[in-house]
Symmetry: C2
Subunit: 285 residues, 2 copies
């Protein structure tokens, strides 16, 4: 019997860098899929429906990066050190090659991992992503950071950024939150205000306009699947097109009537697209 | 009674720059839509079905740029002078503001027009387009230039680049060619080998890798619709994503099972998308 992500135990891995990493380990397979979480997110912020769908076909590992949620250490203020912290976890797990799914700030970390240690990733999934230095994304619009950047955020503010105002998307958002909050025991530790500050420093630093930095993506030769919601107020789909245009081997898909949380709203379709991409059975369509 | 594009007379406009421009003028409306043709193409290489569909909603003007087909003058070896030649035609027609649809090399010219004279275009449609300096498009693959770059090209070679190998696309290609060749009288003058050489010099010059040049697109603030075939061997869709990511106000659409001639294959859908875009009634979907 397969345990749903919502029932998996929190595990702890002591890595050589001195960090104890909190993680959850789902499914089975040779090449694991590593999940890199969004701004201020911890293990409980992955939609179990998505992880379960992904884990039917492969091993899926979600973890808290250094300083986040149940992991020890300090959250760095820049993407580079976050990538080193993530590499330390992945290698301490014994993985020499992994597929990597980065979501939002996690997609920034995924790009950095691919540049710092190109032999580690096999394939990349960049969800709600933007490239370093892209014009017009130096931090998020006031209404976005004003909602999800507050000391205490509400479900309504989360829904307003991760889902659209349509009835269908709103309902999908409520269902996703219901799945995330169904777990009542052994929940992950909440992320701190220090993590929030460090994360947003890193987001703003990533977004300092620097056209030359866009060329970095030409060095990421891994097959990549770039995906975005069509109405994402946090990272508009324009940046997914930009990434897909700069990466030598990328496909891009924009999901309809969806915002930052498109991968939770369209969890079945997105999981099927990711599975097809990782299995090499053609481009998502 | 509306005359189809295939029955329109060839007209001649003497512009102040000394060039006599061959053109055809279809439909009626305030802001005209100017068509900029592909590599080696003349007035007869626009699919009448596409022009007719576009001209139901607006005035549509196709012309031969300097040195091409029925126009006098010499075809320049670079996109910049081609843009000046096109601006000379458009302004000599008395247009102070126009929508511009550039196809392939015509899309390069359209981008240059928007940069040289930003007040002239109202909205831009970039079909089978690539930005100046993009990596990996320094001329076309041997099988492409070997087919459409020969002194005499065959219908089969044209079909092989402009349509895919699927039965549906191949059939659409044969139908499009049938429409183009239905006109037997007053056809445009064929383009010369000098035009072919100049066009390909310009294509290769446009494709000299120059990452910094990509930043030029940030200055094109016009609303833009970027469109491509999903299987274009001449200009892969990656470059349309790149353009749409670099332009501040662009939407992108990739047409299925289609190559360089996606806009002829999907003429009804593309015309409807262009009409919706130009009328401001939302993004193509």
């Amino acid at each position: 019997m397969v345990t749903s992500y919502s029932g998996l135990p929190n595990k702890l891995l002591s890595a050589p860098n001195g960090i104890d990493y909190a993680y959850r380990d789902a499914g089975q397979g040779d090449v694991p899929l590593i999940l890199l979480q969004h701004f201020r997110g911890n293990l409980d912020n992955w939609d179990p429906a998505l992880v379960d769908a992904l884990a039917t076909a492969r091993r899926v590992v979600a973890f808290d990066n250094a300083g986040v949620g149940g992991s020890t250490g300090t959250t760095p203020h820049d993407i580079g050190p976050m990538a080193h912290d993530a590499i330390a976890f992945i290698t301490a797990m014994g993985f020499t090659r992994a597929d990597i799914l980065g979501f939002s700030i996690g997609s920034f970390v995924a790009q950095e991992i691919a540049l710092i240690r190109p032999d580690l990733p096999r394939r990349l999934i960049l969800a709600s992503a933007a490239p370093k230095g892209a014009d017009g994304i130096h931090g998020w619009p006031p209404e976005v950071i004003g909602a999800v950047g507050k000391p205490e955020t509400s479900p309504g503010e989360y829904l307003g950024v991760f889902f659209t105002s349509s009835a269908a998307s709103h309902q999908a958002g409520q269902q996703a939150m219901g799945r995330m909050y169904a777990r009542t025991e052994d929940r992950d530790k909440p992320t701190t205000w220090s993590t929030r500050e460090a994360h947003y420093d890193a987001v703003c630093t990533w977004g300092i306009p620097d056209h030359a930095a866009l060329q970095r993506l030409s060095a990421i030769t891994h097959p990549a699947f770039v995906a975005n919601g069509d109405s994402d107020p946090m990272i508009p789909p324009r940046y997914s097109h930009l990434i897909a245009g700069l990466l030598p081997h990328a496909t891009v898909k924009i999901y309809p009537d969806a915002a930052h949380g498109f991968l939770f709203q369209h969890h079945a379709e997105f999981a099927a697209d990711v599975t097809g991409f990782l299995d090499g059975s053609g481009s998502p369509a």
